[in-house]
Point group: D2
Amino acid sequence: MTALWEPEAKYRIWFEIEAHATQKLADLGVVPHSAAKALWDWWATNPAIDVAAIDAIEAVTKHDVIAFLDWVAQQVGEEARFMHQGMTSSDVLDTTLSVQLARASDLLLADLDALLAAIKTRAEEHKYTPTIGRSHGIHAEPVTFGLKLAQAYAEFDRCRARLVAARAEIATCAISGAVGTFANVDPAVEAYVAEQLGLEIEPVSTQVIPRDRHAMYFATLGVVASSIERLATEIRHLQRTEVLEAEEYFSPGQKGSSAMPHKRNPILTENLTGLARLVRSAVTPALENVALWHERDISHSSVERFIGPDATITLDFALARLTGVVDKLLIYPARMEKNLNRMGGLIHSQRVLLALTQAGLTRDDSYRLVQRNAMRVWEADGALNLLDLLKADADVTARLAPEQLDQLFDLGYHFKHVDTIFARVFG
Amino acid sequence: MTALWEPEAKYRIWFEIEAHATQKLADLGVVPHSAAKALWDWWATNPAIDVAAIDAIEAVTKHDVIAFLDWVAQQVGEEARFMHQGMTSSDVLDTTLSVQLARASDLLLADLDALLAAIKTRAEEHKYTPTIGRSHGIHAEPVTFGLKLAQAYAEFDRCRARLVAARAEIATCAISGAVGTFANVDPAVEAYVAEQLGLEIEPVSTQVIPRDRHAMYFATLGVVASSIERLATEIRHLQRTEVLEAEEYFSPGQKGSSAMPHKRNPILTENLTGLARLVRSAVTPALENVALWHERDISHSSVERFIGPDATITLDFALARLTGVVDKLLIYPARMEKNLNRMGGLIHSQRVLLALTQAGLTRDDSYRLVQRNAMRVWEADGALNLLDLLKADADVTARLAPEQLDQLFDLGYHFKHVDTIFARVFG
Amino acid sequence: MTALWEPEAKYRIWFEIEAHATQKLADLGVVPHSAAKALWDWWATNPAIDVAAIDAIEAVTKHDVIAFLDWVAQQVGEEARFMHQGMTSSDVLDTTLSVQLARASDLLLADLDALLAAIKTRAEEHKYTPTIGRSHGIHAEPVTFGLKLAQAYAEFDRCRARLVAARAEIATCAISGAVGTFANVDPAVEAYVAEQLGLEIEPVSTQVIPRDRHAMYFATLGVVASSIERLATEIRHLQRTEVLEAEEYFSPGQKGSSAMPHKRNPILTENLTGLARLVRSAVTPALENVALWHERDISHSSVERFIGPDATITLDFALARLTGVVDKLLIYPARMEKNLNRMGGLIHSQRVLLALTQAGLTRDDSYRLVQRNAMRVWEADGALNLLDLLKADADVTARLAPEQLDQLFDLGYHFKHVDTIFARVFG
Amino acid sequence: MTALWEPEAKYRIWFEIEAHATQKLADLGVVPHSAAKALWDWWATNPAIDVAAIDAIEAVTKHDVIAFLDWVAQQVGEEARFMHQGMTSSDVLDTTLSVQLARASDLLLADLDALLAAIKTRAEEHKYTPTIGRSHGIHAEPVTFGLKLAQAYAEFDRCRARLVAARAEIATCAISGAVGTFANVDPAVEAYVAEQLGLEIEPVSTQVIPRDRHAMYFATLGVVASSIERLATEIRHLQRTEVLEAEEYFSPGQKGSSAMPHKRNPILTENLTGLARLVRSAVTPALENVALWHERDISHSSVERFIGPDATITLDFALARLTGVVDKLLIYPARMEKNLNRMGGLIHSQRVLLALTQAGLTRDDSYRLVQRNAMRVWEADGALNLLDLLKADADVTARLAPEQLDQLFDLGYHFKHVDTIFARVFG
């Protein structure tokens, strides 16, 4: 991803745009065919791009595109003077940004595919691993660890679809001249270059490609980043000392902090939380870039010079890091079970309540019966078990047989639709 | 739009969700058919929703959904106790938010359609009205006023497509219970309610519908708002005293500020600029809402209680206001022409330069010839005209005949592809 | 706080500004003294402000300030026509916003004082209550609960100082006319009104008070909100089922969720987390409001009409809510102790390591000795205790006597500077 | 500014912190005096920092601070092993960030001083240069160009005061150990190091310095950036083709765009507008960094690694660029006068209206007299002059003598308090 934003990569795209345009101009009879041929012949030699040399010319001309054209002319010779006919610097610069963001999107999509694959593998592995579901950080009802990951999968799958849409937003080509009227360059040139580069034409440009497209693009990256934060936050929670249901991978030989074997910090997911903030920070300036003055001002440019590489490189890094975390995540089913039982079976109290009601007790009486046992369990902080107490409570057993009670404490009741959900998510 | 966010509208959606769910539960044999029938029979009487009464109950129960169910039970009677079987408050609340945001989207789409229609009408009206194109606020080359509006049309057309996608993001239904496992409610209920309400099922929920959906939704509103700001800014610029190529409508009898007839301020578009900032301000908190803890926490709720109505109502108002502004915009072609000629024809100097080169002069000599005349025009600040000077310059006329020169100053040269662009934009 | 932003409160401030200005204009001989006297005489009758009547006039005049002046004239009579002499609407509107924000600040400062008092009380109460300090959510070394609160106190004390500075930022008065030149109103009027209202004069205004002041104000509110989020997040963590070192208050009779006595959710602090996002959302639009065009445009106005009341009312509510949470927070020292010991004394392993080194072992040997015992404790997940194992390890006891080992496990070692820190924070 | 954020600068600060700490530890008798002496003796040789060598060690140890300490030990020898006694990495890292941000602030304050000096010089130069004041982009009443700059001066002077406060926010030193209890390091060390580095002690830290400080710091930078945007926007407006009252400097020999001498674009101020967006983009992530978990998590770190250098370097660059723009700004008083008169004197119509009223006409009659002349001027679009028409209107001259009319058109009336305002702003 970093390479994509290096000067050399940029110059290579510049050349392709200019050479394709020259080709079409030749087909239109505006410039000689020999000009296009000279450019492509040179390009076929796979020439190195001498960034330093171009920089040296720019130091004199104070104009980046002219400096590049001069340098190409030095390499290709006389015929190169037909390049850039009727075009404006922005035609090259904006279309190049489109190519860069489209290629960045392809990398990010590949990242997402890898992440989705990693999540899916772990989700299937733990499809029926019981764990406690929590609302407000408080134990609620049982779920499976696979369900947690299915939710993450569905979320990143949506992110994937959003990124595909965002890519389409910015994959356009504009070669329309100083104010977008095609006064000095035929629209056919734009159409040809677009096709060659795998872009759509920009229906109406005004020297620049309109920045609502880029705003939508960076806003989408911000949403993806927020989803990264969500899964990272989940893992950070799971790795807490008191919870410890999962941990970022550490190699067997790896030392924890000096003598404390428990000191394994979720630093990767904490880092991902910070990276999410960074990617999101591109959203507001991208939105502020939309309202350019009249046919264009150049205020967007300094913003994009930062957020273009920063947001895509950071997101690429973050997605890869998260994939690694998921892939190697240490998952502790035994601890999950321990936590699940931590409340001594209180998580099943609602089912008991319902069963007593169905067995003929009033709701109030049922409630009282359950509550008096539940409170004892709660106050014992782990030393007592609701099922045992209920079985020892004659008022309860008068209504519910021991095997009925056992059934009410069966986790399977909660997991009967796991398969349905998996089918929805993974198809 | 405001009505959509009133308590009454909310309660009506709550009822529909509960009644549809009861219907399906009856079909599944979980509750008696008479329960569903009682609900719908009552509803068929088109009953008023007594918000105050529900509030009064909530003041006691401290729980909004329970208060509502109690009130309905008071109206419907005994049978109502079968409502809400196996469901969780969030099933109702989150699905209701989906319905509200989907309906809000429909209103916003209608707003956009009206705006697009208004822009199109004015664009066609001024398809060939010449005006100066400006880059960096500086005169560049001629465009037409219709082209300016075509760009706005294309931008809002993209906004429309984005909003359609954003609507799909949030139009989902979740009825999956306390931690999303469907432990106590069959997935078929969710599917039925979704269908009745025109929603998709949420493939995997965790008591709540995942908030990446809402983040994407509000991010999209932020992009639309930024496009509003762009067109508003354009109009503000055009209404400047020195430019005055267009003005927000004022009625013929309307007084400007006391005795100053020129004091007509673009207050509507300035207001739109501020409203754009407000709508955008919903984006960051919506992004921050994504990373809920575990299966859910309720931190998103207070945020949405504000940004849900605020962002949609503000955007609705802004789109309608902008439509009014465009619809009635006072457009001054004469002033546009005056401004276009303000530079004494300097905007054509590049074409003259090119023509001299093609007529056989070196580029340097051509440049010198044009420049010496151009500088005189520039320094005269409107008192001289480049075409006249060129015709009077023997070195020029030695190469270019007067009628050739006239042709170089022809605006038509710049407008030859207007039709192509219009076809791209308006189809 | 809400009352402050009601129309009536606004009109009362408008009157005071106009009446004070009239007073000074009379002193300067510009208007008759009888005019000022008539205004103040009427005001002395403590008249009700008829908002509906003013609204009705505005519906005709389409100008809020003129409508108000007309209504006052109806009440006061002939003499009222001297009001507003040489002034501009913005003189009244901007100065009023200053008064409102200054008064809002006073309420927020009182909120902060109450919060600081609540934190201090609880901090002193738990100055030496041992609890585990956590980095990365992982147990690190012991702290006291009082220290946690001391940190919160210091943070909100800084917030208080920031709010005092923010108040000074916006407490200015501008009465300088249409473009700030005092062309039609003497600067002495501004000075007098400022003094009467407890404001500073705005050194140079341009019809409006510059918006960098308001940007700084709302940015400061955003920082305060973030500090609220920090303490709220701490409490949410502490209330997790597995941690349960503190809980938001619930009354003795209060039912948890049906039969589950543990289902006490930290909904107040979750709500505070959301409210923090809302208050912060005012920061960006306030920053975007700074760059008004030339001497003024009115884009800031719609933004402020929302964020003025929303941010201050929300912050006021949030501070009061947080104060209530802290004040009544259920704190569980026994559970803190249990969690502190959860690792079987591993948190003391570093001190043992150091002691062995000081007793003459190489660092490597010391590490090996500690590590082999620590690993057994860790793997036993709560069933073994490091101190016991060390005392049973001959290689250890060869170097450290039992009473030395006991001392190494003394919490007091960690708390010897608590008093110093408290002195720094609470003075 | 860039140098400040280079690895070498960072390592130099690390060394100073460690060496000062060792010094104090020696004074306290914890480590030998020879250790501190060895460090400072080596430092006195002004040794180069071998960043590559440190990086190589870090590649092995995976810990930046340990790698640095190892490298120093290699240089200094045996005695270096006493460094870092009882300290935590964060003690070094966070205090270093404080030093960096404090030094960055000093550079930014120097930038602001230079900017203020440049603005003051130009303000005094144009203290009485008349120009039109504009509200809503529409001509309002006369101001002077000096007043515009006085407003900018006052705004940046406030920014200076804010930056001084922001510097104080982050200039603190924390050396308090793993959870901030000073368990293994005496508070006297912190106090000593703070004093040596010109910092305040952090009253209560929790391994880290609390991030509300940094949030306030970056929020302040965001406000300064917005003020930059305001002045940049003003200049962009003034440079518009139709206004052209000021221009960014271009050297006499500099070519405008090919043959078009008017094509001088305000690209520096457009660039500044974009840079302002970038600096502001640091505010939200800095606010999100505040709510670290418990005693610390490391999510803030990646954020600060970007926004620390990016925001300060960008703001430094922007302030310097703006200073250059102001310093060399081409100011066109003749054009200002031309624009001022563009309305044919309509900007004076209100004074005429008032004078007629004072001369005994009713307000309605006065209005009618002025309006009928004003409308002719307005419709002539620059070809007629209000003063001439009024002098030729017998109904007017019956009330006001020609010399009285002349006086009503005197700009001096508007500028009588310029001196007062300058005294307020410049002292």
